[in-house]
């Protein structure tokens, strides 16, 4: 293989794909990125056996078509250091020579024929959505996914589409984030659980101001995200996602409207004095005010009053402040609405037109 191309274009493509290559693996060959040159294009492919990414770039001068394996980490680090506008790669006997700006770097790869083959998605359902809009949905939900596998909750997000509405749901069993988008045209019915890792990788491929169309293709056990010449394919999780609709409160004893920025600021202050072991802030609502309080045994106590509008009985309820701050950070509305009943019932936070956050209180406080 012998090519000449724009260095920056190559570096961007390589860094997107190389993020998939695992740092530790019993199968060292997958720590490489597969390059394939044909026609006037160059494609990059990497996999960790559960997930794979492929990016193709055009306007490459291919003098000799072929394939090459380049070590992901080292090549990525090297490309970041180069600054010349163009770069050439020539591969002989699994050794690739990179030349740019008068420097010559030899990288030892492996036999491309031994590299895992690209998996192609068997026919499935397709949903199309503007890429930036989808990434926004991901950033509003993925933080609520579980980080441990021991709990009943799972570390994946539910992609649920029905009746022209695409929903993304994440929960760790104590909180739940739901963000939806209404889509034009025909939207197939779909209910799959996608590992959180896949969304993290997608975040590297797509930016939230990307207006290109993202094609989501789901089969029985795989999901593909395609945007232009970039493709990410991931295995789906087999877990049964809990019945999330049943835990979203339909009615509440009290409804409170609070300015998001002020709540966030005040909660942050009070949370400083919620003890390290059981993070807890008490919310005490009256008709026109909300008192936040926290106490850390042997350290101190915080009390803070703020004006709010309460409809209904008011009352007291405690939350883990970190769970609430996570959501307030990405809330869309300036005024958030809280529907709450008692400490045994989840509270519902309306953070945007199509953005709901459900949080289970701390009981027995």
């Amino acid at each position: 293989m012998k090519i000449l191309c724009d260095r920056q274009q190559l570096q961007e493509a390589f860094s997107v794909v190389s993020g998939i290559a695992p740092l530790k693996t019993p199968k060292p060959i997958i720590q490489n990125v597969l390059l394939k040159a044909e026609g006037d294009s160059l494609s990059f492919f990497a996999t960790d056996m559960e997930m794979s990414a492929k990016v193709t770039i055009d306007s490459v001068k291919v003098s000799k078509p072929g394939m090459a394996l380049l070590p992901a980490r080292e090549t990525n680090a090297l490309l970041r250091e180069l600054s010349d506008p163009t770069l050439s790669i020539e591969t002989k006997e699994f050794r690739s020579t990179l030349e740019s700006g008068g420097g010559s770097f030899v990288l030892v790869g492996d036999d491309p024929d031994l590299f895992p083959k690209e998996s192609s998605l068997k026919k499935g359902q397709t949903i199309c959505i503007e890429a930036g809009r989808f990434i926004d949905m991901v950033s509003k939900t993925s933080f609520s996914a579980a980080r441990e596998e021991t709990r009943y909750a799972i570390n994946g997000l539910l992609l649920d589409s029905a009746g022209g509405c695409l929903r993304l749901v994440a929960t760790d069993g104590r909180r739940l984030a739901l963000r939806y988008e209404n889509l034009d045209g025909e939207v197939p019915e779909l209910r799959v659980v996608v590992p959180n890792r896949a969304f993290q990788a997608l975040g590297r491929i797509v930016t939230d101001d990307d207006t290109d169309e993202l094609e989501i293709l789901a089969s029985e056990n795989q999901i593909a995200f395609k945007i232009g010449q970039r493709t990410l394919i991931s295995q789906l999780l087999e877990n049964r996602f809990p019945d999330y609709e049943q835990v979203i409160p339909k009615a509440a004893d009290s409804t409170i409207e609070i300015n998001k920025a002020i709540l966030e600021k005040n909660l942050r202050r009070v949370a400083v004095l919620s003890s390290g072991d059981v993070r807890m802030v008490r919310f005490n609502f009256t008709e026109s005010s909300l008192e936040l309080s926290a106490e850390s045994a042997g350290v101190g106590r915080a009390d803070l009053n703020m004006e709010v509008e309460t409809k209904g009985a008011g009352g007291a309820i405690s939350f883990n402040p970190d769970y609430l701050l996570d959501a307030l950070k990405v809330a869309e509305h300036e005024v958030v609405r809280v529907d709450m009943s008692d400490e045994a019932t989840p509270a519902k936070f309306t953070l945007g037109e199509a953005y709901t956050y459900v949080l289970m209180p701390i009981s027995g406080s």
Partner: protein
Amino acid sequence: MPPRILHLDIDGFLASVEQILDPALKGRPVAVGSGVVASRSYEAKARGVETAMSMLEARRRCPELVVRDGDAQVVERFRQRVAEVLGDFVPVVEVCSLDDMYGDLRGLVELRQPRGAVELAERIRSAVRQVTGLSVSQGIGSSRTLARMATCHAKPGGILEVPVGEEMNFLDSHAVEDLPGVGRRSAELLHALRLHKVSDLRRVERELLRQTFGKRGEDLFWRARGFDAGLGAEPREPEVAATVPSQSISRETSFEASDCRDFLFGMLAYLLDRAATELRGRELLAKRVSLRLRFVDGMSREQQRSLTQASDRTDELQELARSLCLRLLDERRVLVRLLGVSLGTLLPRVGAQGELFAAEEERRGGLFAALDRVRGRHGFGKLVLGNANELLGRLPNGDQGFRLRTPSLSK
């Protein structure tokens, strides 16, 4: 009211229990343990047998030494009885480790008499002897540190009070290694710095101690002044029991060296089950799980990890412990002779984070509550959980569970 703390230590606990159970052992040198001496009678001590000494060396020094394995369940019953007796005399009792406990004397009318505390301790001593047959040593002081140090002087079977106002004189008569929490290594380091006596230590600035010993330096700073302090904390009013929850619940035992994974995981499952049962009994949740292995070559390895959310469920704690054990076993391919598991960062169950999908969680939580009820009624050993099945046929099993070799019922 000034704080007044009583510290009680059971003399040669494990060995004494053996002597009580088998009267023929009275007056004879007895040691309990396997491999190393976990406890020895005063007769054995007089012949040069020390705790933590290898059994080989102990037998060399005292050829007629009687060695017993010890029985964790019997020992635990004795300890409970001692705690109950202490509880009859003082309002709050904190069981601290296998053989010692604290009582808070604050507010007791006896303290109004000049020798009231000592007389109270005398009554405790004779009640313990009457109920259990065990001998105890007691120390009384204005902090746990002082009470504990006083107990060392009272051994065996005595009582020593550090009177109010005499604290500094008492401390100054001690070497640095007499302070609780100063081990061999810290002592060596202190001696190298020419700090031999507690009074020497008191002259060192707080900042210097902190720089030299890290957080432990803070602890030393306060202890040298007779206070108790949590690591890196300002001294607290010494409080006992209810307000000072224990820091961890551990279970460990030694066994015939083995590399059989089925057996090791079985033992882990059993020890963790016991620890988790106590955790639930005390209405606590644990956030951290640590695991300790000792290998035949004397090397020890420890691993710990935290859950993102504290739990009291055997299955959740088990999964974490199992992954730690697997990692340690993969690291060193040597026969294992001791396994210990410890549940740490204990939190009260009240104020617990609620679960959204509670129905599912309750179903599982309910399983363990039911398990605890059955065991409470019919005995722990009547139900063997999961991997612990592997121990059936390998270890003697009774109503109260498997008979383990070396009991360790620490804090």
